[in-house]
Amino acid sequence: MKVIKIGAIWCSACLVMKPRWQQIEKENTWLQAQYLDFDQDQDKIKKYNLTQDSLPVFVFLDKKGQEFLRLDGEIPIKELVKTINKHKDK
């Protein structure tokens, strides 16, 4: 499973989510994660077809690179851990 984290340096919610993800990635070393900056990485972000006008966005991809879940905004760390554990084998 891989998580694409899309955020921006001017977005307060993205800054709030940053340490939460750092903790999760530290505790789940198998998890692949990539951060994309909304202003700097527009080319890479385009393929995820962001329809909503809000940040941060978290795109969950399975082993084949297919998106199976998308979350946005501030998410409690417990909810993230639960989601990751649920889809661990994908």
């Binding site: 001017w10 919610a13 800054l15 709030v16 202003d39 809000s54 940040l55 905004g73 998410i75």
Partner: protein
């Protein structure tokens, strides 16, 4: 947590306000106001008396145009009775006291109010609400209102994104002194611009006075602002950041980068001041509602000028609290931090209820907004 059900109940209470404020005296007190066409001081006093009428529901103002026979005769009679010189207008009679001329709310206006005080007329101090019982208005004082409105205004994310940009750039510097100086310059300039903005609103309302159409517009602005904040509370549950004005953001970021990297500190400071001025002026539009409503309430209190500005300084301090917190934490921990959205959400809920309450009072019971 405050449920929406409770909120709507409170709204219904305000809509169905039936009981009158408790007054110190039940009898009406007559004010006889003698004025003349084309007299500018009379016009000034008229506006003052309108606000006085709102503040003291138990007074009755009788106006007489002295260029009309009836008004002129009555003025002469009053003059003889009170042994007063009635050659000039405006001329105001309250019981057995009189006030000749009208200079300003702070001078002659105070004299008129003092004459009312001697008649033991006081503004309403309590209000009875269904189920909630009697509420002391003084408990909902001006400092508390200032604190709440400023805090709500401060959570407005409009100008916050520039601060995040700046912090991000500053954290890349090795020179801590430069970081502190440039960041502080930006915050102080932003506060100053906002102070100018609030002062402009204040002076506009002081100039206009408490006119009925101003009251209606400000009341409606408060209702619209309150509805917007409640909508934000309901819709934006996960505190996501709105993506708007990408081009403008990029432009500011490029400028900010160029300014902060200037070798000469003095040049960088001047650049930051100019940029903070421009960004804050542009972003003022999105917070126009709250400062307008707040400064209108402030003018209803008839305070001395220096106290108005002291309240504005207090407002700015509270308004900047979240910016200061984010800046100081970033500068001391060398990490950019965001404020959890739950604080903004609660402020939207409380602020939304507050603004709707103010809007309804402004439209239907403005005398309750006259603090002090």
């Amino acid at each position: 947590m405050f449920s929406l059900k409770k909120f709507f109940l409170i709204l219904i209470f305000f809509f169905t306000l039936t009981s009158s404020p408790v007054l110190a005296q039940d009898q009406d007190v007559d004010i006889h106001f003698f004025w003349g066409q084309g007299c500018p001081h009379c016009e000034k006093e008229k506006i003052f008396l309108q606000s006085l009428e709102q503040k003291y529901p138990d007074i009755k103002i009788n106006s007489y145009e002295v260029h009309k026979k009836e008004g002129y005769q009555l003025l002469q009679e009053m003059g003889q009775k009170l042994n007063a010189d009635t050659s000039g207008i405006p001329f105001t009679v309250i019981g057995d006291q009189y006030v000749a001329g009208f200079l300003s709310d702070e001078t002659t206006g105070v004299q008129i109010e003092q004459a009312l005080d001697s008649k033991q007329i006081e503004p309403p101090q309590t209000i009875k609400l269904p189920l909630l019982g009697t509420i002391e208005i003084k408990n909902f004082s001006l400092p508390l209102l200032t604190f709440m409105v400023a805090l709500l205004d401060g959570f407005n994310p409009c100008a916050m994104w520039t601060l995040f940009f700046l912090i991000n750039l500053l954290l890349g510097f090795k020179d801590r002194r430069r970081m502190w100086i440039l960041g502080t310059t930006f915050i102080v300039t932003s506060a100053f611009v906002y102070f100018l903005f609030l002062s402009a609103w204040l002076n506009l309302f002081l100039f206009l006075g408490f006119l009925p159409w101003v009251k209606i517009i400000v009341g409606l602005v408060a209702l619209v602002s309150g509805s917007y904040y409640l909508k934000e509370y309901v819709v934006n549950k996960n505190g996501a950041c709105r993506v708007t004005g990408s081009e403008k953001r990029q432009k500011v970021f490029t400028r900010l980068k160029a300014i902060t990297q200037k070798k000469q500190l003095a040049l960088a400071i001047v650049g930051i001041i100019l940029l903070a001025f421009v960004v804050n002026l542009v972003e003022l539009v999105c917070s126009a509602g709250l400062p307008a409503v707040y400064t209108q309430i402030l003018t209803l209190t008839h305070l001395p000028s220096w106290q108005y500005y002291l309240y504005l300084v207090f407002y700015i301090l509270i308004f900047m609290l979240d910016d200061l917190f984010i800046f100081f934490v970033a500068m001391t921990t060398l990490k950019a931090v965001g404020l959890e959205s739950k604080y903004a959400r609660y402020s939207h809920l409380i602020g939304g209820i507050l603004m709707i309450t103010i809007g309804l009072l402004m439209l239907f019971k403005p005398e309750l907004l006259m603090f002090g």
